[in-house]
């Protein structure tokens, strides 16, 4: 386990100060957590405008219901979970307003609908190295839930991998942070690819 203060620790430290009355420290919570929240909302499949809405809503909820975060140390995980729930709700509202939707098809309640595949939308031409392109290729080949999990986890703190994957409904082991199915699958694909040598 790493001992350097990661995203979760930075967010938690600033959030504790905020709760203790140092309100400007909320800006530090925002700086630390917003990238992870953005990638969480995008991983659910929202376009940029709606993804920002989902992030804004999660922050509003934190300010109004700061007491809902029972353990300040988990504020990043709370924000990620809240962003994801809000993003799924926004995504379902959009799906409902689509006229072509067949009402006889039950809607999935627990998983994110209409996941974008990483090969569409994002600007992949910016990837400069063969190593980055190889990583992108292999992560794109994972199933959507693994892509979502790894995208969210990559932007949170490494020790949070177990907690976040459990919150995303993908527990990866009962004791300690293990690699988990998604990361193990990605590792195996990368190991077999000569253009990505770790």
């Amino acid at each position: 386990m790493t001992t350097t203060a990661g995203t979760a620790d930075r967010a938690a430290a600033a959030f504790r100060s905020y709760l203790a009355g140092d309100s400007p420290r909320m800006a530090d919570v925002v700086e630390a957590a917003t990238p992870a929240m953005w990638h969480t909302a995008r991983a659910v499949g929202l376009d940029a405008t709606r993804a920002e809405d989902a992030v804004q809503q999660a922050w509003s909820q934190l300010v109004v219901h700061a007491e809902a975060v029972r353990d300040p140390q988990t504020v990043l995980a709370w924000l990620i979970t809240t962003t994801r729930r809000g993003a799924i709700r926004i995504s379902q509202q959009e799906a409902r307003t689509r006229p072509s939707e067949d009402p006889s098809v039950p809607r999935q309640q627990t998983s994110a609908p209409d996941l974008i595949t990483p090969s569409e939308g994002p600007e992949t031409s910016v990837l400069r190295t063969e190593r980055d392109r190889a990583l992108w290729r292999h992560v794109s080949a994972l199933d959507p839930r693994c892509r979502e999990l790894l995208r969210v986890v990559a932007f949170s703190d490494k020790p949070d991998y177990a907690a976040i994957s459990a919150r995303l409904g993908m527990p990866i082991g009962s004791i300690g942070p293990t690699r988990g199915r998604c990361l193990a699958a990605l590792r195996a694909a990368l190991a077999a690819d000569p253009s990505w040598s770790a």
Partner: protein, 162 residues
Amino acid sequence: MNTSYPVPGEYEPLDDIDRQVLSELAQVYTQVDPPPAGMTDRVIFNLTLAGLHAEIAELQRGEPALTRADQSVESMTFSGSRSSLMVTVTPDVDPEAPVRIDGWVTRGGTTVELVTADAVLARVADDRGRLAWEFIPRGVIHFVIRADDPSEPSTITPRVEL
């Protein structure tokens, strides 16, 4: 997850290569799909408003009414549950010139702040609730109606463009 077979290595503890892969993955996502410019600032701005624990007043815009030949006065009413503020904006003949703003708040003695892009101009209403601001540059403004009791929430109006 409906896959029943295990993936090799899935129960191994996280090692340095795993951390390296996740860190490179974050870099790749940052390159292909970064958060929009200014998003963090927009979040902080919205939270600053929310942090005042303020109520957002509703805006009812009045019809522009002609008073004198070349001056149209616009009135707006902001209604909150604790207090309401009505303002009229009297522009100069020159459409680019600063404006005068007269306000009436429901309770005399209330402090109302006019917030422009670069200043917060506080006024205390007289005993009949009247307030006035002169030479207000055009742009986006909003008002904050301070509660008499500091423990009570303030009321913030939506932003309006002069």
